[in-house]
Symmetry: D3
Subunit: 331 residues, 6 copies
Amino acid sequence: MNRKIVTLGELTLRLSPFDFERFVQTDKFEVIFGGAEANVAIALANLGDDVRYLTKLVENEMGQAALNNISRFGIDTDYIVRGGERLGIYYAEKGVGLRSPKVIYDRKNSSMAKAKIEEFDWDGVFKDVGLYFTTGITAAISKEGRDLVQYSIKEAKKRGLVVVFDLNYRASLWSLDEACEFYDKVLPMVDILIGVLPTRHECFKGDFNHECLSQMLKEIHDKYHIKYTISSIRNSFSASINSLSAGMYNGREYLKSQTYKFDIVDRIGGGDAFAAGLIHAYVNGYDIHDALDFAIALSALKHSIIGDYALFTEKQVGRLVSGDKHMLSFS
Amino acid sequence: MNRKIVTLGELTLRLSPFDFERFVQTDKFEVIFGGAEANVAIALANLGDDVRYLTKLVENEMGQAALNNISRFGIDTDYIVRGGERLGIYYAEKGVGLRSPKVIYDRKNSSMAKAKIEEFDWDGVFKDVGLYFTTGITAAISKEGRDLVQYSIKEAKKRGLVVVFDLNYRASLWSLDEACEFYDKVLPMVDILIGVLPTRHECFKGDFNHECLSQMLKEIHDKYHIKYTISSIRNSFSASINSLSAGMYNGREYLKSQTYKFDIVDRIGGGDAFAAGLIHAYVNGYDIHDALDFAIALSALKHSIIGDYALFTEKQVGRLVSGDKHMLSFS
Amino acid sequence: MNRKIVTLGELTLRLSPFDFERFVQTDKFEVIFGGAEANVAIALANLGDDVRYLTKLVENEMGQAALNNISRFGIDTDYIVRGGERLGIYYAEKGVGLRSPKVIYDRKNSSMAKAKIEEFDWDGVFKDVGLYFTTGITAAISKEGRDLVQYSIKEAKKRGLVVVFDLNYRASLWSLDEACEFYDKVLPMVDILIGVLPTRHECFKGDFNHECLSQMLKEIHDKYHIKYTISSIRNSFSASINSLSAGMYNGREYLKSQTYKFDIVDRIGGGDAFAAGLIHAYVNGYDIHDALDFAIALSALKHSIIGDYALFTEKQVGRLVSGDKHMLSFS
Amino acid sequence: MNRKIVTLGELTLRLSPFDFERFVQTDKFEVIFGGAEANVAIALANLGDDVRYLTKLVENEMGQAALNNISRFGIDTDYIVRGGERLGIYYAEKGVGLRSPKVIYDRKNSSMAKAKIEEFDWDGVFKDVGLYFTTGITAAISKEGRDLVQYSIKEAKKRGLVVVFDLNYRASLWSLDEACEFYDKVLPMVDILIGVLPTRHECFKGDFNHECLSQMLKEIHDKYHIKYTISSIRNSFSASINSLSAGMYNGREYLKSQTYKFDIVDRIGGGDAFAAGLIHAYVNGYDIHDALDFAIALSALKHSIIGDYALFTEKQVGRLVSGDKHMLSFS
Amino acid sequence: MNRKIVTLGELTLRLSPFDFERFVQTDKFEVIFGGAEANVAIALANLGDDVRYLTKLVENEMGQAALNNISRFGIDTDYIVRGGERLGIYYAEKGVGLRSPKVIYDRKNSSMAKAKIEEFDWDGVFKDVGLYFTTGITAAISKEGRDLVQYSIKEAKKRGLVVVFDLNYRASLWSLDEACEFYDKVLPMVDILIGVLPTRHECFKGDFNHECLSQMLKEIHDKYHIKYTISSIRNSFSASINSLSAGMYNGREYLKSQTYKFDIVDRIGGGDAFAAGLIHAYVNGYDIHDALDFAIALSALKHSIIGDYALFTEKQVGRLVSGDKHMLSFS
Amino acid sequence: MNRKIVTLGELTLRLSPFDFERFVQTDKFEVIFGGAEANVAIALANLGDDVRYLTKLVENEMGQAALNNISRFGIDTDYIVRGGERLGIYYAEKGVGLRSPKVIYDRKNSSMAKAKIEEFDWDGVFKDVGLYFTTGITAAISKEGRDLVQYSIKEAKKRGLVVVFDLNYRASLWSLDEACEFYDKVLPMVDILIGVLPTRHECFKGDFNHECLSQMLKEIHDKYHIKYTISSIRNSFSASINSLSAGMYNGREYLKSQTYKFDIVDRIGGGDAFAAGLIHAYVNGYDIHDALDFAIALSALKHSIIGDYALFTEKQVGRLVSGDKHMLSFS
């Protein structure tokens, strides 16, 4: 299999107050260029994988800054298209203690939300590529986004790529009906599915547990005939302390990862790190148990990073998986 | 009842090292304009209440900066008097882990500490107002402060306002004898009293508990014939983790609030947020149990904010009271 | 005449790299809430005038932050409407030395750009008001903006207010034809016009001069029968050093102000300070020469301030007009 | 002659907005510990001289921070007294372009302003010392300050030290009458006087010139029989560009220094650097012309430093005196 | 006994990303001058002890900055030698949550690593001194360092000083064989030994415990005939939460300190604070139990400080030892 | 001709105090990865050229950060070698006003200074490349550097590339004799030479002028038979204001560029921007006059940027060349 990975999605400007300031008190914003699929690409590049990222970026200095940020990690940006009206934005306030984190979207009419299928060079995009990743956020931002995701998955399948899809459902971006209609079209083409259907989010109400998750993953597997259905489970002790574990259904059995409990510096991108960990493990031939452990460890580690990115090498993640005691190391 | 609230007190300049720096290592200070009664006014304004704030501020750019800061939250500043010698100051070092927070006062001879009763337009101040709030700190800073608090409470009573008083005892500002002499004059006029008499602070020695608090609140109630005597209880696991609950005696029974345990970003203003929560609940007709829960939730949330202010809407506090799981929300 | 002033316009979020960083290198933005008419309102409030500001702001925390920022200066915000989709944004990179400043607009579909005439309480807005100010930017952002400006000026005239209008032409927001069509409708209702028609911008090509300006002002005066036509003239030695003077035609003669040459900290809001200076002088009964000198001095001083606002008292401006030697003063 | 130098004065906390922010817009202050005589001591220590600094500092963490700051430059702090009520403060806003710098004092009742003569160990203070320096600011802050300056100068004279005094007149701290009464007592004991009498400040009205200065210096010399009367002359093109030169009358002739024109980063401490340059030159046996040039060069260089201190070695100053071309140097 | 203490070691420049940033994402470094023996000297100076620090520093502005930093705490720097090639550097990334802290050394060829025995004035260094402290890091950085440590300990012993040595083994700086060869020469001269031999680090593998530690301390005691062998024990719950206790063998019995569990702001210098606490207790005649408790409390408190230094007075440490409840205090 | 450009040199970590702080007062450093040849590569990438950069970088997180920084601009980093001991460092203090900028090198034993010829894949490096650029700094840092420069130029020539060399003489890195011996070997292979021989730097003593420069360029041309000999001329009015122009000798005539006078934000990298401008003009077929003007304009613009890089597009430079008036532009 070709080991090159392509991810497609929107690259947005995340504006966050520094430290623990609230929107109503801050006078400066951190500038972070993020987005689920870009975060996955960046995490993979830091793990040492060969990644191409696909998006459309506005043709001005802010678009250039966004592009530079992707290039910085050695990601292939050759097929990124420039043009359109604006850079999508979201404002993100970190949570701490009893105060929950908060995101305000301002992504409408962004260059990527208005991008057309025919603007991309699909043959080039998928050349020598083995795995394709995108998420439900890109589908949720616009009609054009939905078309793009559906089309690109079809093209990837056609070329024999492994398709990984993260549901990433956002109730503020589209309705449940729109989402489900879309899922029915797309999920049958997916090989590895991350997340659970929003229709069954009632499990989220109480503290999530593996019993509930295993049922949900089995249901999705059965409904769409997906090879691996996988999800992480988060328990939130406070906005500053969470725990994470993961479960996977492979058509025969339900597998569980280790559980990590951890302090949170910045929660955004935690799920993307999980997806990146799974893809890295898949592309590099990990066995299933190791893959789950690696992915959940990377996701847990992400929470120690300011900004969206899981800035870890494979070796650093491996150290946590093998039971690192968090001692100071010298080199 | 008129729902407009007046608070009176000193607005001081708080100078704090950033993050967790100590006084002896910092080379910059955060500029925060605070003071118990101003903090209460600001918290109320953020909750959506109609507030007027009364103080005296020096007539220079620093006084102007302080004034702008109050106006910013939509608080009525029309009756604030300008003049006098200086802006009162306090230096505040945050605590963290095993290191306790520390405050150094430099408030003597401030414009408010030297303000005279006749400088304020009392008829204007109390026009269309339903509730008046001030605290023992304003009484403690000077003889003039004591006169002002006593006079203003008498005037408020005369006009039929509900009087809320927070004891806020500071041993570094006045002696116990001075304080008690003052309490004997003022507390009989108070409708809602927050805090416990410093004469009975021995309960604070061990870990505070509701048994001890209920006795103290009953004693004060009986001694001064106050309608509601209320106090929060803080347990300090470290300078970074505390828990809070509250108790109230209403002449018949002792009521307890929920208990919250939380990470601390900045501890100053936690008590003021509790007072603001109570006042908000009172003015908006909450029942007694809900009032206590709301107040203690707001106080707990305050600890997640850098600076003195409880920057929360009623809805945000309500979410915690109803059992928020601290998940990331999108809008 | 009533001395209360109303200004109407959009309040946008300005995102600027700190110091002299470029868009492509910054990792943080200054958060400044600006807009021509808000800047004028803030400058007037700092000069001691009684101002009301009118706009529509999105109903989320970012809209609240914008609103707080206006309240902070003691401006009346009672008639501001909340709602709509988003806060308009612009990115602004400061210039320095040989490098020109740069602005990128992202204001489409903002709450104010989509505001409807009937959303505002016009009787309330203009109650006890003597002067109304708005600018061509608000007209340029959308069809709805154009309607709002035209309607509000008509309403102001109907109530006998003095109408001041700043052309503020932005070629990136609308075409010359659209602008001129709009001018023909609105300028006949204007009492004091600031700026020159973009149709005659050829004078800007070379170094601007009073001869050229006096003709332009006379032409506009004659065409639209405006009482005072006024404009500043800027000469740019570099992005760090400019000079400013102003000219006015009052139907009989052309008057010139003093000229100031100055270092630039932040150029944005310089023109708004000029407008505010004129309005302040008008409302406070300055004679014509003093008005021009005051306005150009305030505009020059603005360039020493980080952010959009002319944060000066009348006394501070007066000191420059009377020939301040920039010595250190102690108080 | 012993080359050890003693300076006596108040060490105050200077609170300055960063960069070019105004008081009314800043949310943080630079923490700088300054004061004329401390600045002179620090400049001398950086030039390589052996200095002792004398003051009284409050006994808390802020006093400790001030003390550490003095020790940092290798200055002898053994005779500094701890105690009293508070650290004196001043707020300082930098000027830029057409906007003048501004200082607001809050120094009343500081530990040093209330220090008593008998609190210091005068024999220890002056042991093995050759030169004593203090200024009119210390005399101006309080009655106690006046006594201290007068007494210390008498003690220094008694022990045969060279006495250098900088007039440093501040109209906001005392009246002209008080100052002159004090000068009559103290100036007859002074060997080297820096500055001109405030009674003759009319020369400052226009642009200062050497003709005027030479007369003033001769008058002071004749009136008080002072060996060297010296002053710098500042011309202010703007708050960002000044020029400096200096003149000296030695009883026979009037000598002029070089003139420097320069950009200003921070103007405070410029005069103190001049005094330090003169003292350094005197103690190290420079000839008179070189002394004046060295002092004015150090003063000019100080304006390139953020904060009060002239952080330059003798070699660095020498390079400017000999005509440095400001090229980048590598080492 | 003379109470003056000398410490000898390298003063390096520590470059740390701010807050919790990683090396690969930061664009600024905190400048901290640290090193085990300098940290001990600084901690002692803050506790009120009389300390001299000995090192060699490069003769340029960076060396000067390092020197000023030591002087700042009132430490005697008279015997520090200037010269050599460069300032040693280390990059330090803080850990947080599940992410471990990381140090990268760049200390080769530093001025101190190349310093020669004969460059120091040993008679001056040890004049009126009662206790000498150095560590294994200085021995590990170079052959010259090893010679310096061995020679200086011999000289200290010769003069009757108490010799305290902290093993501070760093596997990245030298091999176990080199270290052990060196220990055999030096440890027989040591009176108080801190730390355990790297040959027996297997105890570190699991969670450290007092049983294991007591054996190790007894073995070292017996092998080298050292009066007190002492070590702290750290358990690491995460990079953000650790606990510490200490054990000592005095030839007769094994003694244990209190245990503290705490949040970590900056872990570096925790061990140096422990050594400083022991030395302070020894020099000031604490009894053995109090000494252990004081040292472990200071070490625990250090973790609340940004940077390497234990910035605490004796009184502040005493408060924790006696069971401080971390309440806000006012003065 | 192939338009791909290769530059080779060391990538060092530049540590600069922020703003105008001096080394002895700063507590934080800007992290900038620079070096003459990297700066040229980055400038070219921003101008839109296709660039490959060659160096050797240490195999740790700091080396990774340096590598990411190069990738960020879309530069080809495929042939960069990882390994060696350390990242070279230099400390750089900006100048301002009368205070000169200062650089302290700590580059010895860096990975690149110790790199061997055989570690690079020269066939890969020069594949499809048209122009090769390196400078005298890389030759000056070590014997290995000298070998690398000589070998790489020979290889480039052998493959028919245009060779551009910037003399960049640093007296602190090597002696004049070493330099000249090296020049004699290398310059005969050079097609375009930038800078003047240090043997003839006497022209630099006074203010540089075109008469002197034209002679120097002709001499070098004649001595080494170089096609184009080119240099910029800098006049330094102060550390904050310089002017630049350039001259070129092409074997027939001496050509002069425009002259720019400008404010300086950061002077480092000004010469590298000039080289990049020349290379861009050459590769893109500018005529000779336009090339000189373009290069000097880019160099002048660089001085407005914080950090080493000329972050300008071709269009932005073109605007200055055609006489930009530094007005605010909107898009």
